[in-house]
Symmetry: C2
Subunit: 331 residues, 2 copies
């Protein structure tokens, strides 16, 4: 590997001069700088980021930690954040936790070990209180939380208006003439699920409907668990479900079908996240979009701001209900 020493020797100058030229310092003669840059190019020099970080204490790498990279929401957040961060000269490292606390701890340690300058994280379901996050990261990196956040952790947060989203989704089902609306509620240790449930309650109560805890089905997040919960919801007399995820919505939809009921005629379904399949399948599924590209951009900008020493704040992104066939009862 070519080092600045090699360039220095080849040019008969010292490493300091080469370093200054390479980092664009004004304290070098223009002609010297040009010679250095030409030689660097010629020798195929690549700056050793590890040595640079070690010496300067400044890392230009940001780690993004998400439960799963193959979710429409997360992959779009990442792509969007990437393009902003790249503009500011940061590289992005993507890590996934598979919803497991142990994996979250492992990747956080890896990122800290590699002394990243910042961490953007949406916590795993398996992580119920987030205490270890600040414990592991400490002061070594700026932490930006997005989507799934813990209020008791300091630092910037970018979240959806989950209460508003749950409220809209439920109101939409009511407006389409569904009466017994249940909810696949996820796990309440995560803000996103707790808030969507709160929005659901708010919409019901506002419509003069008594909240019925028996129509709340917890821990239904995957396709399988969504199917099981869907079956229970049907037995409990539901004629519609607001699902806090699209995979659980898919499972619920299959349960409804297997029960011989029609969608949207007999049963309405709203999902969440705007997974690709919701718009492709038949019937297409009404879904609550999270505006992932906006979140990614805002989270990246929050990081940049935090590095610049600006005050940390909480940014709220509205959700948007994408109305499709699965709730088309009266149309």
């Amino acid at each position: 590997m070519v080092t600045i020493q090699d360039i220095a020797k080849a040019l008969g100058v010292t490493p300091s001069t080469v370093s200054r030229s390479l980092s664009g310092s004004p304290r070098v003669k223009a002609s010297t700088r040009e010679a250095v840059l030409r030689k660097a190019e010629e020798l195929g020099y690549v700056r050793n980021a590890m040595a640079s970080t070690l010496r300067s204490g400044k890392a230009n790498v940001v780690g993004v930690v998400v439960p799963r990279i193959n979710r429409e929401f997360f992959s779009n957040v990442i792509s969007s954040a990437e393009s902003v961060l790249n503009e500011y000269g940061y590289s992005v490292l993507i890590c996934q936790t598979h919803e497991r606390l142990e994996d979250e701890i492992r990747v956080l340690k890896t990122l800290v070990c590699n002394r990243v300058g910042g961490i953007m994280i949406s916590h795993a379901i398996g992580d119920t209180d987030g205490s270890h996050i600040s414990e592991i990261v400490g002061k070594s990196a700026v932490i930006v939380q997005f989507d799934r956040v813990f209020d008791n952790l300091p630092g910037p947060k970018v979240i959806n208006d989950n209460v508003g989203g749950g409220y809209e989704a439920t109101r939409h089902l009511l407006s389409r003439g569904y009466h017994q609306i249940g909810i696949l509620a996820g796990v309440v240790s995560s803000n996103i699920y707790a808030d969507r449930l709160a929005g659901y309650r708010k919409a019901l109560e506002e419509a003069g409907i008594v909240f019925n805890p028996d129509l709340v089905f917890y821990d239904a997040i995957q396709r399988n668990s969504g199917y099981q919960a869907g079956m229970k919801a049907i037995q409990a007399g539901c004629d519609a479900l607001y699902c806090t995820g699209d995979y659980s919505a898919l499972g619920a939809l299959e349960a409804v079908r297997d029960s011989g009921l029609s969608i949207p005629g007999d049963f309405g379904i709203v999902g969440t996240a705007d997974e690709k399949f919701t718009s492709i399948m038949s019937p297409s599924v009404t879904s609550l979009s999270q505006h992932p590209r906006d979140m990614g951009r805002l989270a990246a900008e929050a990081f940049i701001a935090a590095v610049a020493g600006e005050e940390t704040s909480e940014v709220v992104v509205p959700m948007e209900l994408l109305i499709r066939e699965s709730t088309g009862k009266n149309t």
Copy 2:
């Protein structure tokens, strides 16, 4: 940040002893090692991987470079490779190129800058000859190519049996009674598309059908381009399409629908990659699966073997046709 110096001072020993204890060297007294480990835990010590790599010249990080992380195939390859690499003590950094050559160059430079020990890559469509890959990486890291590979680059390769896959897909359409079978062929600069096209030709010729270049539609990879190509295929008299991707298959399917033809009755469709939506939509789409978890594992193992100095070889993974409704003409 706590360093080994801090631990050394606290214990009245030297940094060397601490380093040896931490790295599990046998040349320390058991009691000393225990004391060091306890103190490290107590002080919240985290090894500085950059300093370690800088000094030892050995990086325990592997970069995985893929076109897009939100594709069923790539996300599964990554997850599978991750679990193998983690077992061997490697951390995984995920990068995406968005199919663009410039992004591929950028992430490769980042990885080289950060002196990763290895790079697993499936090249971008925008990368047509791969010359820059070895140019940028040089001897600084082991390169493992998977899925989309360049034969003229040295090193381990893990690929699908794309010829066999294309052959099977086409034979399947023939066996279901389709006569005018076209192909959405992708770009021939990529081995995967060139090979699938070769398999298609082989199946046709074996069946005594003259290969018709007018039924080959290039550059149809996305949903939009698949739709356009689908329309052209219908006009050209096709009654079936073998699509070398699932997104183009989706577009083609929509073109067929919009043309008032029924699937599979009037028109048969085979896709490639087993994207989630192919099994969920209606009609479900027959798709050629790439066994991503096997590829990920094999690519990771190829990396481990290469680091251990073993001979580089080419591994071929069979493809599997998952037969669904879109080719169900005679069933």
